[in-house]
């Protein structure tokens, strides 16, 4: 399966942020999106994941093959680690979550309530969810926030294993991921020019 994106434009809050984004990723490839805050990394990832429709352009892969992980981990504080993970596994029609727990060294924490986890442990659990979805394309937004160096290495190892199995990963970050082999895409050249400003009527001035 190949992830092919051509001429993609995406908007947030009605303002077009990115235009003409095109790239193609073969199985086993990872792409790291770079750009300063507000450059549209999250918006692009949400568009790829199918959470919002693109303004223009095409994504040549069905959203059903993508697993999305964002800043919020989607954990329920009053469920245990195992219950949280088992829910997502069942939702994606899978039984086994032992490998996912192992990959992020969560096996010992399986019986603990998610509300008693540290920020880094929560993040690891959120990332372990990717493994139980069984989907080939991972769309990751700042995956290593609040992870320590050991956990970042765990994460890099898991992503490599995923790529080795023919998976694809698109990651947005501005810190080091420990994935030197990944290609990078700088979003700055795709930033939409604020041409819409010329069309604004006087009524918008109060909002500005």
């Amino acid at each position: 399966m190949e992830l092919k994106v051509s001429g993609l434009a995406c908007a947030r809050g009605g303002a077009i942020l990115l235009e003409g984004v095109s790239f193609a990723l073969a199985p086993g490839q990872a792409l790291v999106l770079r750009g300063p805050n507000g450059s549209g990394k999250t918006t692009l990832l949400r568009t790829l994941a199918g959470l919002q429709p693109p303004v223009a352009g095409e994504i040549a892969v069905a959203p059903e093959s993508m697993a999305y992980a964002a800043h919020a981990d989607g954990l329920k504080p009053t469920l245990t680690v195992a219950e949280n993970l088992a829910f997502w596994a069942a939702l994606h029609g899978r039984r086994s979550m032992a490998t996912a727990l192992e990959a992020f060294e969560l096996t010992e924490l399986a019986g603990r309530m998610a509300q008693n986890l540290s920020a880094g442990q929560k993040r690891r659990l959120g990332l372990a969810r990717l493994l139980v979805t069984g989907r080939p394309i991972w769309i990751l937004d700042e995956p290593t926030v609040s992870l320590d160096a050991t956990a970042v290495a765990l994460f890099a190892r898991t992503v490599r294993a995923h790529l080795a199995e023919g998976g694809i990963a698109v990651l947005a970050t501005h810190i080091d991921l420990g994935l030197p082999e990944a290609e990078t895409l700088d979003l700055m050249p795709f930033r939409a020019r604020p041409a819409a400003g010329a069309e604004r009527s006087g009524f918008d001035e109060a909002v500005e």
Partner: protein, 218 residues
């Protein structure tokens, strides 16, 4: 789908899940009424159908904003939207979980609460039947309202303003069925209308709610 239903039920009975809140609220409303209107049993008996239905309505309203707001806050809603089950199914399952944790307990407890208001003996059956047929509509309409207001910070008040007018038909026919039961007249017509409202809501509103969620997720 089963996994989602089980998770929501589990969350409801865990700490802070709100299970029992609606029942306790219903009990307090029903207990407060005799203090407000005085211990005149004939008067209480006459207003009981209306008070019981109003109490059930308000108790149901209390937990509506939890249906989607919590999932939105912790990011689960984004993940549910990208999961392999359709968003319409998510809405339907969440409304079902809400009904199982509020509407159903209210229906089962209502006869006991009727006793507190000196409800006429003939009305108990119709009260229970009416609530069983009418409360699914309350949950589904509520889920629709919750989907509309999910993106708003502290949208609870707006949710009440949106949803309460939509509850009016259910309230009218529900209270009417109970009143007819109390007076010993046939109550099948308002019951049929109650069932019709519920079926209509269950059939259509999950689609409307899913559309509202999609817009709010953007």
């Amino acid at each position: 789908m089963n996994a989602l239903l089980l998770r929501d039920l589990k969350l409801a009975i865990r700490a802070g899940g709100g299970f029992g809140l609606a029942l306790a609220f219903f009990l307090i409303v029903v207990t407060l009424v005799p203090f407000g209107v005085g211990p005149d049993t004939a008067l209480l008996s006459r207003i009981a159908p209306g008070i019981l239905w109003l109490g059930a309505l308000l108790a149901c309203l209390l937990s509506l904003d939890r249906i989607f707001a919590l999932d939105r806050e912790d990011g689960s809603l984004d993940l549910l939207a990208t999961a392999p089950i359709p968003l319409e199914g998510v809405v339907a399952v969440k409304a079902l979980a809400h009904w199982l944790t509020t509407g159903l307990p209210l229906t089962l407890a209502a006869p006991g609460f009727g006793l507190l208001l000196n409800l006429a003996p003939g009305a108990y059956l119709w009260l229970t039947l009416g609530l069983a047929l009418g409360t699914p509509a309350l949950s589904v309409i509520g889920a629709f309202g919750a989907a509309l207001t999910v993106g708003l910070k502290r949208g609870g008040l707006l949710l009440s303003l949106l949803v309460l007018p939509l509850y009016m038909p259910t309230l009218i026919f529900g209270a009417e069925a109970t009143r007819r039961g109390a007076e010993g007249i046939a109550a099948s017509t308002p019951l049929a209308l109650l069932a019709a409202i519920s079926l209509f809501a269950v059939a259509l509103l999950p689609f409307a709610a899913a559309a509202a969620l999609r817009v709010n997720l953007r």
